[in-house]
Each structure stands twice: as C-alpha cells, then as structure tokens.
Symmetry: C2
Subunit: 360 residues, 2 copies
C-alpha cells in the first residue's frame, strides 16, 4: 500500500458531519441541560462549559467519568539541524530523551502533577536508545534527511511514522483513556514546522518563523533563508499536503499527524501543545478537515507560526502563557483546566439536589 | 481605636520598598540563576517563570517547597439586594453557603481537585448559620444596610470585618500555608463591587458594571441607575478610600481587603478571583499601594469592572476563560498553574544533573 492509499483508507473511516449530526445534536442538548441544572448562573463557567461540550462531542457521550489522560512525547532528529538552524547542538535531542526517561524534564514534572501517564516515543533519534525501557522504540531512521538537499522523509518512512501515531490513538481509546496530549522533542524541529506551515498556509516564511529555542539575529536570518530556499526547491515536486510532510517534515510531526487522524477516527480528544504539534495538526487537517472536531488548542505560545496555524484552523487556545518549551508542556497545563471542567460537570450539585433557588 | 487608627496601624507594618530592595534583588538573582540552570531554553517557561519569581519575592525566599494553599470564601448579604439588582433572590446567599458546607458548589469541586483547603466564612449572611460546623462564624450583622438610603457598613463593623480577613492571613502564614485564594458569595455583591470600583477609579458606572449573574436589559438599567444614584448620595460625605468601602461595600469585600493588608504584612501570596475580589484588592491598594506586590490576578472574567481594575492596578491575569461565577473558582484554577510553576522550579533537573548540553 502506498502512503496515498494508506491515507485514503484512514480518512475514509473518519465519520462525515452528516452521519453524526443527529447524534451530536442530542448529546449537545443533554450536556447543556445538565450544565444548566448545576448550582451556578447559566453559562457562568464560560470557556469551561465549551470544553465540556467539546469533550462530550468528541467522545460521543453526554456523561463521562473523570478521564485518565496520556501525554505522548514524540522525539526525533532532523537532518536540517546540520545547517545550523538551532541554538542548541543536535545531541540535545538524545540527551533530552534520556532526561525524559529519568524523570527530570519539564513534561515529567507537569505530567506527575497533573496525574497524566507520560509515554515517550523514539521516532527517529540519531542514536540507539533501545536500552531505555521507559522509551517506546518506534525508530524510523537515525534522523530525517537534510531537506535543503533532498526530501526529508521517504514515502515508506512517512507511512511508518504516521502508523505509529495512528495506532497509539486507537490503542488509547480501546484502553478507555480519556484524552491524549501531544508533545515533541527534536533539535531543528521548529525549522521543519515553520517550513511546513509556510507551505501549507501559503504564507511567507517570515510570518510563521520564530527564534525557536533562542536564536540570535544572525541565526534567525539563517533559519529564514534555509526555509525560503527549501520551499523553492521542493515546491515544483508537490501536489498533495502529505508530500509537504515528506519534503520538510519530521518523523515526530508525521507521528502526531497520524495520531490525530487516528483520534478523529476513534473519537479520542486531543490536546495540542506548541508550534510543532500545531504544524502536525495543520498537516492532518489538510489531509482531512474532519479531524478538527477532536482538537483542543492547549495554549498559544511565543512562536508566531503557532498563532498563525490556530487562527487559520479556527482553534481558540485555552491558555496564553508565552511558553516556548514544547515537550507537551502547554498541553499538559491545559489538560488541568479540562480535567477541572469535567470534574465540575460530574460532581457539582444541581439546584434541586442542593435546594438552591433559581432565577427570579 | 477608630477604623482610621486601625488602618494606620496596619499599613505602618507593611514593609517599605526601600527596606526590602536589596533582599529582593538577591532573591531575584538566586531564582533566575536556578531557572536558567534547568533543562529548558532560557525563559522558555514564559509566564510561569514570572510567577515563580513573584512567589519567591512575596515569600521572601529563593527556595520553597510545593505549597499548601487555602481558598477562603467570604459570604455575606447586601441590603442593596432589596432594590432588585440581582437575577437571583437574596435567599440564594444562605442556600449557597449550605451548598459550600455540603461540598456541592463549584469551588468545592475545584478545591478538591487542586488539593486546596477550603474555608468558608459567614461574614454577614442574612440567617443564623452557627449550626454549620464547616462554616466559620464571623458574622458582623445580618447583611449590610441598603446603600441607596444609608451607609452600608458602620465604622465599627468595617473594622470587625477587616480584622477577620487580616487575622486569617496572619494565621495562615504562621501555619506555613503557601498561598491564599480569595473567593466570595453574596447576592447583590457585583452591584456593591461595581459601585466601589466606579467610586475608587472615578469612572462612570457604565464602564465598570456588568450583568452579574445574568440580568436582562431592564435589570441591568436598574442596576446602573442604583449605582449612579448611590454614588451621588454618598460622594459629599467621603474623604478616604475606606469610607467608600463603608458607604457601598460589603462585609465580604471588607474582609478580603483586610486579608490583603494582612497578606502584604506577613508575606503571604494572594490569588484574586473575579470582580468582587478585585474590588477588594482595589480598596486595599487605595488604602496602601504597597499591598500590590503580594497579589496575583488569577483570571480576567466576563464583568467589565474586573478588567478595569486589573488594568488600572497593572495586574496581568493568568487565565482568560470568560468566567463569571465567583466563589474563588477562577483563582483556584489559576492556583493550579502556580503550583505547576513551583513544581517545575523545584523538581526539574539541571543541565548538569541531566548531562544535557547547553547553547552552542
């Protein structure tokens, strides 16, 4: 099966709007009815009520228990890193994966605090990590190719990386997990993400490219030039969105796009993190716009490409905390708000139960 | 001791900027030094890093354990409620206090989820609640007077209500609590808060008055007219900010203003919730501007007066979720972000510990 056939098969399984319209209507009615019975002025939980409704519609249920969530961090290396587009050396990818494995990174701390299970996937780190038992070995290759000189990802590699993500969503849903937070690690991956966003939104790279982990002016100009050159090199060869994913993407971006396609298929709520996860969402959305219903934008961060994607896709971020760390950190923070919303929905007393008077 | 002497005594104990300048400088340096040693790009935790710095400066420490937080809900009735300014009947105040006592209100659910201790204070509910063991009996009177016809709060009552709050902050600090989230309940209290904000900011009531728990157009016009009339009645009699608190305030607002003065004195971080807690912060700030250093704006909500106060005081809200519930709900949600920040600061590995390479 080619990558195109694979994608056709996947997207054919994502429900059409009209297939679920009447079910969605009745779930919405039931959720709103319960929300309005709780001891609070109608609508006074604002965005939290929207999140409850979103959650119920993705899960296709009007009543749900407090969810067990998972944050999956997809790590991979990027050939483009050798073109000097990052403030950190490429070896930091593998070093940070080891940091995830030993529990010392930001996402470890946040996942523990938020009560989420953390899964780390080696999608293509440039080192053998099979000895790390805390890391899922899903390695496609030892890093992507440098997209300044060739296509970053071959079609068979793309299918393999996407399958890892797709399979994760299917598995988590079958295990009864409540939601998936997407996270990533990979030196050079804001360059890959910005190139992908510029290509898929047809915007000048300067409008969607930031300073990543902290480039200086010279480094930023170089990053921008690299992206501009890469886009002009690959442009003539491309007809479909997934080909942009292969041309300038990363294995972690492909895996997350696959996870989103899988989540949309099985009805698993997905919380996005920063610009890399948003680039993956954009790729999945361009492959099949129906994935949008399962997505929650956890936050909007520092990278300008992040805001551009969210605005284009019409996703309203839960948090705005000027984060630029990645790893899923903003997504995990937002998951606390989601969990709070769901607890309120499940545990608050109704006017009747608490004998509280209604509106005059 | 008059209320004015009481306030002079309190404010004299809040440290002056110049007294703590060198200490604050060294604490800031130590915190930034540790933040920059953690395995993340410098500054990449954005607002979370600012919150860590704020927390350390209020506590006057550069290292701190994961904090035990308290949310205090101050409940009281308002004479102005009889002028028909709320969408709900006055009896909802006592009904909701019972709901707090039995654990079914929104703030109960959120406090449980965030791991905060919830304390409920009867500051002046219009019913005998002394039989509720889960409620602290700090009743000043059975509701305030109607401020359309007379001063809402007598000077001795004001001192008593403020002392309750002040004493709470002193006690929590001595118990080693890490922070205090302010919350409130009281039918009619957005009218009281908006009147206080309009008076203290010298703004037209229409710019700081919202629909509270859900007034219709007619109700909103009435609320606005009530506030305008009240301000013109009391204006000629008033020389000091605290007199506005007595003229149009509430016992819960007075208690929260006292809690903020106490918190600034002992170095207890305070998280504000909605428009009522912000009105209390504004009153405390007009009494003594040095209280500002201990305040964190948990969120900015639906009520326009809320945003006006935060902008005027230069407080940048952590969350923006369109909440309009009160009870401390937005403050408790924001406390999760604060607790996450403090956990990151305390638990993340350093570059050295994790053997992660630094910037090129």
């Amino acid at each position: 099966m080619t990558i195109f056939e694979q994608i056709d098969l996947w997207t054919s399984r994502i429900p059409l709007e009209e297939e679920t319209a009447s079910e969605r209507k009745s779930i919405s009615m039931e959720i709103l009815c319960r929300l309005n019975s709780l001891t609070k002025p109608q609508g006074s939980l604002g965005r939290l009520e929207e999140m409850i409704l979103w959650y119920g519609l993705v899960c296709r249920r009007s009543l749900f228990p407090d969810p067990a969530g998972v944050v999956a961090v997809f790590a991979s290396d990027h050939g483009i890193a050798s073109s000097g587009v990052s403030a950190f050396p490429q070896v930091v990818t593998v070093e940070m994966v080891k940091n995830f494995a030993s529990g010392g990174a930001a996402v470890n701390v946040l996942a523990r605090q938020a009560g989420l299970e953390l899964m780390v996937f080696d999608m293509g780190v440039n080192a053998d990590l099979s000895f790390l038992h805390a890391v899922v070995n899903a390695k496609v290759a030892y890093g992507t190719k440098n997209f300044l000189t060739e296509r970053a990802i071959a079609p068979a590699e793309m299918a393999q990386a996407m399958k890892t993500g797709f399979g994760l969503s299917v598995k988590l849903k079958s295990q009864g997990k409540g939601f998936l937070v997407l996270g990533e690690m990979g030196i050079g991956n804001t360059t890959s993400a910005s190139a992908l966003i510029a290509a898929l939104l047809d915007l000048p790279p300067a409008l969607v490219t930031g300073r990543g982990t902290g480039l200086d002016d010279q480094g930023y100009r170089k990053k921008l030039a690299v992206i501009e050159q890469a886009l002009s090199i690959h442009m003539p060869t491309i007809s479909f969105p997934v080909e942009w994913g292969m041309a300038v993407g990363g294995f972690e971006i492909a895996a997350m796009a696959g996870a989103i396609l899988g989540a949309a298929t099985v009805g698993l709520p997905v919380i996005l993190d920063g610009v890399i996860t948003s680039a993956a969402a954009l790729l999945a959305w361009r492959i099949c716009p129906r994935v949008k219903h399962c997505l929650l934008a956890g936050h909007v961060g520092h990278e300008i490409g992040h805001r551009a994607v969210l605005e284009h896709m019409g996703l309203d971020p839960v948090l705005d905390l000027d984060l630029r760390l990645g790893e899923g950190t903003g997504g995990v923070l937002a998951s606390q708000i989601l969990k709070s919303s769901i607890s309120l929905y499940g545990q608050m007393a109704t006017f009747e139960e608490a004998s509280v008077s209604g509106k005059i």
